[in-house]
Symmetry: D2
Subunit: 393 residues, 4 copies
């Protein structure tokens, strides 16, 4: 990655602990691979599972020092403080309901925090955590990993530069077919906590992936959502959380134009694996990006031929180049996008520790974005309960 | 085309007149080419323009007998009755506001009618026209031409056969960038009448192309729309009609499942030429079709690999085959889809004249569909005025 | 079509006869539909089959006057001369071996000829026919229909204008899976004559579709083929003609650069319906086109983003526009491309009859191109017999 | 990665040194990122550049212990032997001409070797090296990294299982536009050595990327190439090595069928970034894969609909699953494919050290494959010099 103009060279390495991510947890392994790619972190401690034996076995599997495999996150927070080589930051990769207590504990103990999304299970908790982050003076990074893709950075910079003119329309969808049947009744651990309000919060699909789509739309366009009119549906019989969400969007005016949009999130969309797509249309140009072909960005100026911009290719801009590792035509994927979140977290942590401003151009998703994300989820739930009434965030 | 098992062989040829479609009118030429492909019609008379000299010049250009080029549609309706070789059917290809009076005149004079969409400019007129059609005993065909594509017939037959299981989700969009700027102020005749409520009716984009998307979704799924929550926007400064429409959809329950959807129609979507896309997702499978690649249909059964079905190809069903002219890999396009509307109109007209049921499998869009389309437009307008309240058709 | 700036208006209509194209013959119906689209021909006579009853039945099916359905092409050539309203041109849509005698007969009788490809079954016959055409003073059109696609015209004009710089590489393939099994033994009439040297000539797949690929590459680039090194294979057991052809190409120098290429034609390519693809690469830019997505042309200038040019779209040039009927995003297909061959044949015939030069920009494939095509087939066969030695055309 | 059923858990970690890969060298950073992803290697020593200061600076940048940054590879080979924690394996990422001497040195000193391709600059050297590998008893891994893509493993397993029937056709191309202009004269270090026979060997593009295409075709189909007829061209003025290669291929008979093919490699293909494509066609089915969309594999059985198989998706087989890290729809890219080469190298090294057979299903490209690759390059050069005569490997 060309962050700061260096190849895969890295400045200070950060000692990292992990909470969650034991055996069978998909996202823990993803965080670890992502953290390794750019070589800015050493994973040296973990509380990988709330089940002690599983924590131990998981730690052994990934080669953690057994002495630094902890039975609880509280213990890790305390014990690592005692070590001269103790962790400096923690990655939180648990189900949603644990994000808040774990993040709070580590922030208050003086650690930097890298946390999976959504940031909490309630808006109140998110606001509370935002206050804790501010008081802590520590770095807080929310891993909305799709923001790490180079062509998303490209799109964002193009919107900011006015290449699209005034934005009129924002269409987003994030659809999967993971929950098309009642897999939670068939032993899927990944499904079980996602459909359980006590672990997921008030939003099902809207919290799990709808927030990604919303975050991405906000990240790329820089627009603020004013209000939404939402329909939440639970197609899976007996599910208490939504597995399909459709909504209309009204954005706040910018330059006299208030953009409109729709957002669709679904986990019953048979035939779709992980289709996260964003279309942004302005007065001068339009663009479309789809996560399953992340190295491509369709871009068309009004009255000109369609362009297919490619990562590393002729039309790539500086914002894309900054987070590009390898040449055009050599596809970067999901893990590389995720790795950028970690590489930038390392930059942010180093700057925070040194009391200086982080390098320009970081794309870090902050606790404030996390609060907005929770406001989004709660607005969806409120609007849906109110028969789709337009609801402000 | 293999209608009735015959190659390009055709039964009785129908003598056709045309109202509208003079010089510079896009859709008139389309109807004429479409009518020729399968050789079931002879265009022998016309009232091609309300401007007499233009009517005459247009008729000369397309080789009409000058004696049968009329200065007004009323005159044509009268005069052709006097001829032994007079027209049997009329094609109405005027701006929207003329559909009703012209259709009424010809139906009441005993002609069959092929009419462009939307059927009228008000729901009341549409209902009135439906009554006139019923009384007339004549064939009435609404040219929602996208229903003529073979892969749309395939998709419809698959939905009807239960290949998708119970339908849960219907997503449709129809987007263009024709009105991204104020082309109506720059001399575009095509734009001028479309943004004028006195010629278009109460719907702008929603009437011009939103109706196509709605009709297509209904045609393919067979579902009835219960209600919608709509946001209409006029991005073009000073436009009185919508140029962008986004809405949520609730369909009526079928087999205990009430499908949900969104529909987006836009004529300010920079970067999109004529993108009409439909995604239907059921409990067992999902499908996606896009008009700019009409010979392809994506189809995925739950838990099986994605299939790309092709017109004429291995997975094509009988409903697609029935309206297929040439082998797989030899693309059929927009005109062929439109030609199918005409070929089936000929079948319907012949059957009507002979007092027999039309052949099974005709996909004709009827006056009742036209009424539903007008109800759709009016519901959109009402919902939008009522700040997006759920509104029944 | 905008030929000569007129909508679907047409000048003089041409009275047409057809030889071949009876029941069950795919290509006859294609020619008829193509001839109708732009309304420049009246099909009024036919010798549709060498089997008299079939000729009669076929004529009835397509509505020919029984008096003008002939039992042999010779009879048609004679009888139509006697009529004041006799045909002016003939379309030859028989198997290959009949092209020469039929074309000769009609040319010598003073008719214009529209002939399917390849023009004859031997190079000697083709040269002979070229002489006959010259002597006759009549129009001769070879229906290499793929040259009729607007984006092919666009590509050709771009090559001619130097948009690609000096051409270095020409890659073409035309692949189908029609003959993957021994369908000729299973009753396929279409297959039977294609694998029979007495009807196809010395080339199997190379003659049937390889000539299309070669013609298209020549048509677009304007380059002359110098020599080729060819491998012909008959994968189908016992087939005497090739069903797969692969070859290296050397083009004649232009501006000091001699382009190189490969060409692959196959009818055993399982998974491919009718994939005719052309890639041309020059010093300044490269382009790619594929027949199954005919409305699109990929074009990339060195060091610039990839462009997807669309028929009727922002980047379409005058050469494409000249043969474009309907707006961007409304797909034209195979029949429309074929129709352009007919529309231009009408232009050529009218100009020939009037003793004037045809309008500029016609893309007609001539008898000389037909001779080159036969030279190509014979060079392939010679090279293959000579173990792939480089062989001049 | 699910190698051996473990998540990102890894067995023994291997201590690794690197030769080459200093500042500005693209492929060195790639090897390092790839080696980190699955956490099986510790890069602890390096001779990163033949220029001492650059070696030192490069080592500092990537955080190597300065004491283990060596001025020459010979020194590293000696010095590391003296350390109890010395390296166990070396990665060779130099220009081609250094592969042989470095590999020889390290093998003879008792290290395992991971070497970039092509294995040497002459066939004689390759054969010599093969003998050295055999004598050494050490693991030797050639990083034909494209073999690491899951869908390539899928395709290989399908060919092996007979899913395609008997293979008839193998088409491969690998095209870039890196050398479209004389960038070697404009300061490109990457270009300079590639066009220099003293560093690249006798093949230019054919050695640099043609070998990848050939290796991939062999890897997937399991077929042995019998002979080829090759045309090499240097379009860049004054280049002594080829920058474009086109050839015909004859494979050895298997089950009575001798497959045919073409291969095109080019580095002047304007508009193409890194397009490595493979099409394999058998009697029962055909498949196509393209490196720029590596998570997809098109597969069509004769007479059935086209399937788009996806990494991790419904149709993925065990061979693909074995090297898959993350779920369907979360794209893996070039680095992940490369990481698989490293992960499997770790498996092979561990097995070699323990004197046991490596786990089943490893896809390691061996020194024997390297010898075949050099035979391929030399056959291309010989055939081209002999005006394209069929030449045996």
């Amino acid at each position: 990655m060309t962050i700061e103009g260096r190849d895969d060279a890295r400045g200070r390495r950060i000692r990292l602990g992990m909470v969650g991510g034991g055996q069978g947890a998909f996202i823990g392994a993803v965080h670890r691979m992502a953290a390794r790619i750019d070589d800015r972190f050493d994973l040296v401690a973990g509380a990988l599972s709330s089940t002690p034996e599983k924590a131990k076995a998981s730690a052994a599997e990934i080669g953690l020092d057994p002495a630094r495999s902890y039975g609880s996150y509280e213990e890790m927070a305390r014990a690592e403080k005692e070590r001269p080589d103790g962790i400096e930051a923690v990655a939180i990769v648990t189900p949603n309901h644990m994000h808040y207590p774990v993040a709070r504990t580590f922030l208050e103990a003086g650690y930097h925090v890298i946390c999976d999304k959504p940031v909490t299970t309630t808006l109140a908790d998110a606001k509370d955590l935002a206050e804790i982050v501010r008081r802590s003076g520590k770095a807080f990074v929310l891993t909305h990993n799709y923001t790490g893709y180079p062509m998303i950075r490209q799109a964002r910079a193009m919107c900011a530069a006015g290449d699209l003119g005034d934005i009129r329309i924002v269409q987003a969808h994030y659809i999967q077919d993971f929950l098309a049947t009642k897999v939670e009744d068939a032993g899927s651990k990944q499904a079980a906590w996602r459909v359980d309000p006590s672990k997921s919060g008030a939003g099902g699909t809207i919290g799990d992936i709808g927030t990604h789509a919303f975050n991405l739309a906000s990240f790329v366009t820089g627009l603020e959502l004013d209000s939404l009119a939402c329909e939440l549906t639970s197609f899976g019989e007996g599910r208490s959380l939504d597995d399909n969400a459709q909504m209309l969007l009204r954005f706040r005016e910018r330059n006299g134009v208030a953009a409109k949009g729709t957002l669709w999130a679904s986990q019953v969309a048979v035939g779709h694996e992980n289709t996260l797509a964003l279309t942004v249309i302005g007065t001068k140009a339009g663009l479309t990006w789809q996560q399953e072909e992340p190295n491509r960005l369709w871009f068309t100026r009004l009255g000109e031929p369609k362009q297919l911009l490619t990562r590393g290719g002729a039309g790539a801009n500086a914002a894309a180049g900054r987070v590009t590792r390898i040449p055009a035509g050599h596809p970067e994927g999901y893990l590389e996008g995720f790795a950028t979140i970690y590489a930038e977290a390392a930059e942010l942590i180093a700057a925070t520790d040194e009391g200086r401003a982080p390098p320009e151009g970081l794309g870090t998703v902050t606790i404030e974005d996390g609060v907005t994300g929770m406001a989004f989820i709660e607005a969806c739930v409120r609007s849906a309960r109110d028969d789709g009434a337009w609801t402000r965030l």
